[in-house]
Amino acid sequence: MVFNLLNKKYMKNFTKLLSFLLVTAFVFNGCRNPAYEVNVLFDAQVITYKAGLQLTDANGGTLPGNIDVTVTGTDAGSIYDFSGTKKIYAPNGVITLGVHPKEIPTASKTLSFNVIVKIPGYEEKNIPMTIAVNQFSQEIKGITMVKTAVPTPYTSVVVKDFPLGTGGATTTISSFSTPSTAGVPQTTSIAIPAGTTFRDANGTLLTGGALTAQAINFDAGDPELVSLFPGGDLSAPNVIGKDGTVGEAFFSPAGFTDITMYVGGVEVKKFSTPINVSIQVDPTFKLDGSTTPVKAGDVLSVYSYQVSTGQFKYETEVAAIVDGGGKLAIPFTTDHLTKFIVGQVFSKKACKIVQVTFIAPWLGANSTVVSIEILTLDGTKRLDYTKSQVLFDGTKVDFKNLPPFAVSYIVRQGTTAIAAGNITNPCDGTALSVTLPNPATPVDLVTLLLNVKCPQGQITVPRFDLYYKAVGTPDSQYTLLGTVINGSIKTTLLKVGTSYDFRAYWGNTIKTVGNRPITTADMSTTVGENDFLGTKSPQYNKSLLIEACKGI
């Protein structure tokens, strides 16, 4: 028998060996914690609905850092900074807003809110915005900020002091006009009758040694007017029309003036006697969006605008006259101060939004950024402008700011027009498809992928907008490259073999990476506290990373 061959010694060793094998199996089985280096990742793509604003100085200067941004209106409670904070940041004038994930728009509810921008020394802005269901807007709306006392290529300014008599009344007729400049040849003239007294917003009589009067006249014929206009669009949702009802309307401005006055540093809102205002009309202005130039006798509307409420209000209708300077003008009187717009106003109460689908199969999974300009049919007047629109193949964009008359559109990549056409009836809501043709020269499909490692493990990078420019160009040339999603962006805008400067905004943080060469179509990199932290400013990057890692 085989077991007879086993003596006592062998038997003991055999038992020990078998026991050892089993103990080994027991001890080493499952010695690894199943959760070892498994880090629970929370999806950082919390905000899916976003909207952007790009503030720029009208003179091309750098905006100060103390930009105050607040959100008001019906759905203000649902709006956050894209970084998730209730405080809205505007680093370098870039405002990125997001919608709380539990309060996103639905088919029956479009979110409406106003963004109030205050910068000391600049005109206050009140920008009405809407976000509709499935409108994961990647549009960046351009807003041009104008200094109140400094002329720009699009504005002329006059500031003048008038002595006041007893009781704070003017002693003589006090007249002043904005200058006629190369950029703004038209003027606005104001005449205050003698004996006029001034009151503030509360109706309190203002007394003081002098009245400081100021007027800013805008060039209504300049394409930049769209971003200078109150709200940043010629289309406005909150307009009290001639019939007294409130609704959406489209402005076709022939003249636009902002008049302010102060007594003893307090802003004047009302007068004891109406003052006379005469706004010269843009000579290129055409009626009804057609090719018919305005002429003397044509009746234009006068509307006022209150920045605090974002509301336009019908004031009067006036036939155009030829003034003493031989130019067409709209004279009217007013007993309050505000912004005044003269021109034509078209109700959009019955209008439906035109949704445009962009077809570009050549993009694959990549994105591109285009500008979209809406013009009158004859192409002479800009009616709406989107500076940066991120497009994928099949992206749907709502053309919300169209007038109720026929228009043309031009889609540009950089300065090159890549698609154009007409929209015959922008008010009927008929969907439109715009095909972006294959590029004449093949584009590079470049992927930038950023993996971020925290001590707790790899994290998912929240969405952020990435800007780029050619190396050596000024900062004003930064343009939108696209939105980085899950740390990745696929774009057609970069060329392999070329270096770029990149800039990202997150909350109040600005991160710039200069002179970064695109060496391959797949630019993937991993950064970590103990890994690669960049070559330009690793310590700063490390501090950013540590801060970011605290949040997970």
Binding site: M11, K12, F26, V40, D43, Y80, Q458, T460
Partner: protein, 233 residues
């Protein structure tokens, strides 16, 4: 944990009992040996039934089945926040084993040693876990409650066929029809397939699946500590 402690205590007690039994019945008595035995098994791989046929005192062939359905849960800390972990483990197998008593000539406890080799077919060899984060996720000023965060679903599934090796203590010549045996061994299940998926705000955790798979690859053995309640037929 309490359940495991109880089972281990029982095992130790029975092992001690078996040893005592061995000391008071040192002699071989072939007339008491029964060739066919029905065993109820209580073990770490579950409870079951075995039918053993021993044509000779040294060798036996044994077939049977066992099942182990376990459900449970607990609260753990993830990111300093309590996290609910619910698991559901199911093992069920049919097995065929060969027993060998190599030391029957001995007079000590070693004469009761039985070496077992065989294999099991697991028609169930898997575990599911659902992880629910109780805390609130903060994204800036946006607070996302646990009810909206979603859940993590983990699944681990082993091979269906697994070899077995082990040893134990059995009285080949019991004086009564009923006796107790004890076995220790292990199935080799191989590295399991592990999946990890998340919902809502935990959807990014699919990227952790590879790490989980790696971690679970250490769990190739299924340890067996078994008590046999034998009834000679």
């Amino acid at each position: 944990m309490k359940r495991t402690t109880t089972i281990l205590s029982l095992c130790l007690f029975l092992a001690f009992f078996t040893q005592v039994n061995a000391q008071i019945n040192p002699k071989t008595d072939s007339t008491n040996r029964r060739k066919v035995t029905l065993s109820m098994t209580i073990a770490t791989q579950g409870a079951g039934l075995d039918l053993k046929y021993a044509p000779t005192p040294e060798f036996a062939i044994r077939g049977g089945a066992s099942i182990l359905p376990i459900s449970g849960g607990g609260v753990y800390k993830v990111r300093s926040e309590p996290t609910d972990v619910d698991f559901d483990v199911n093992f069920a197998n049919a097995h065929l084993m060969f027993d060998w008593h190599p030391f029957l000539q001995e007079t000590s406890l070693s004469r009761k040693v039985v070496v077992t080799a065989g294999a099991g077919y697991f028609w169930e060899a898997k575990g599911d876990v659902v992880v629910s984060y109780r805390g609130t996720y903060k994204y800036g000023d946006i607070l996302i409650p646990s009810s909206d965060l979603g859940q993590l679903y983990g699944n681990v599934e082993w091979n269906k066929v697994a070899p077995y090796l082990g040893f134990g203590f059995e009285n080949v010549f019991p004086s009564k029809r009923f006796n107790v045996g004890f076995a220790v061994g292990t199935y080799y299940l191989g590295a399991p397939d592990a999946t990890l998926t998340g919902t809502n705000y935990l959807i990014q955790n699919t990227s952790n699946q590879q790490q989980l798979q790696k971690n679970m690859s250490y769990y190739r053995f299924m340890p067996v500590i078994q008590v046999n309640l034998n009834f000679g037929l």
